[in-house]
């Protein structure tokens, strides 16, 4: 069976994965107490349950917001609305969510140094998205210029 990979199928896959990630992030909200309890039990280091719980809750909220904006972005793309102010705003919000997670991980790093690495990765992704947002904003301006060229 030969399945032809099209743009629509790719978009559908992205939307399905985004929804799956959204459900996972929502499920994690309820599982955080169990996760932190398990972590303290297996880490063999001084307990950080309270700090870890707070940090995970805040990070999960950022993650849910970012995934929601991603879903909005994909919905606009499926409606052929690519270079719009709304999409620029979506990418901006996702980048700030990444920076938010980086900030939270920086705080957690005082207790667990590994969180510093996660902070760097999150900040890096946030920076990349920020540049993508700048590019999208420029493309939106060019499209508008083109649309109003008679």
């Amino acid at each position: 069976m030969n399945i032809k990979w099209t743009h629509e199928r790719s978009l559908m896959l992205s939307r399905v994965l985004t929804w799956a990630m959204f459900l996972l992030a929502c499920a994690v909200l309820f599982l955080i107490p169990i996760i932190t309890e398990w972590y303290d039990a297996v880490s063999g280091k001084p307990p950080v349950r309270v700090v870890l719980t707070v940090c995970l809750y805040i990070s999960d909220v950022f993650a849910i917001l970012a995934i929601w904006e991603l879903n909005l972005l994909l919905r606009n793309i499926s409606k052929q609305e690519l270079f719009t102010e709304k999409n620029t705003r979506c990418v901006r919000i996702i980048s700030w969510c990444c920076f938010g997670v980086a900030a939270v991980c920086c705080v957690l790093a005082f207790w667990r140094l590994l969180a510093a690495m996660i902070a760097v990765v999150a900040a890096f992704v946030g920076l990349i998205l920020r540049v993508v947002k700048n590019m999208l904003a420029a493309a939106t301006e060019m499209r508008e210029e083109n649309d109003y060229t008679i």
Binding site: E145, Y148, T149, I150
Partner: protein, 71 residues
């Protein structure tokens, strides 16, 4: 914007409606409206040529430059 489009004036002189002009110069009525209401950001030479041909006028009859402090 410093460039004013005085299309309405020339259309009234030549007694031609917006719909008819749009059809003759092969642009949509919506685009003609954008042009007439000074919302356009640019005009192609081909469009300007078509307008001048149909309205029998010069570009200067349709386009006017107004300095920012005069507006």
């Amino acid at each position: 914007m410093p460039i004013i489009v005085n299309l309405d004036v020339m259309m009234a002189k030549r007694k031609i409606s917006a719909g008819e002009l749009a059809e003759r110069i092969d642009i949509t009525p919506a685009n003609l409206s954008i042009l007439k209401n000074n919302k356009a950001k640019a005009v192609r030479f081909s469009t300007l040529e078509a307008i001048c041909r149909e309205l029998d006028c010069q570009p200067g009859d349709i386009l006017e430059f107004v300095k920012d402090d005069e507006q």
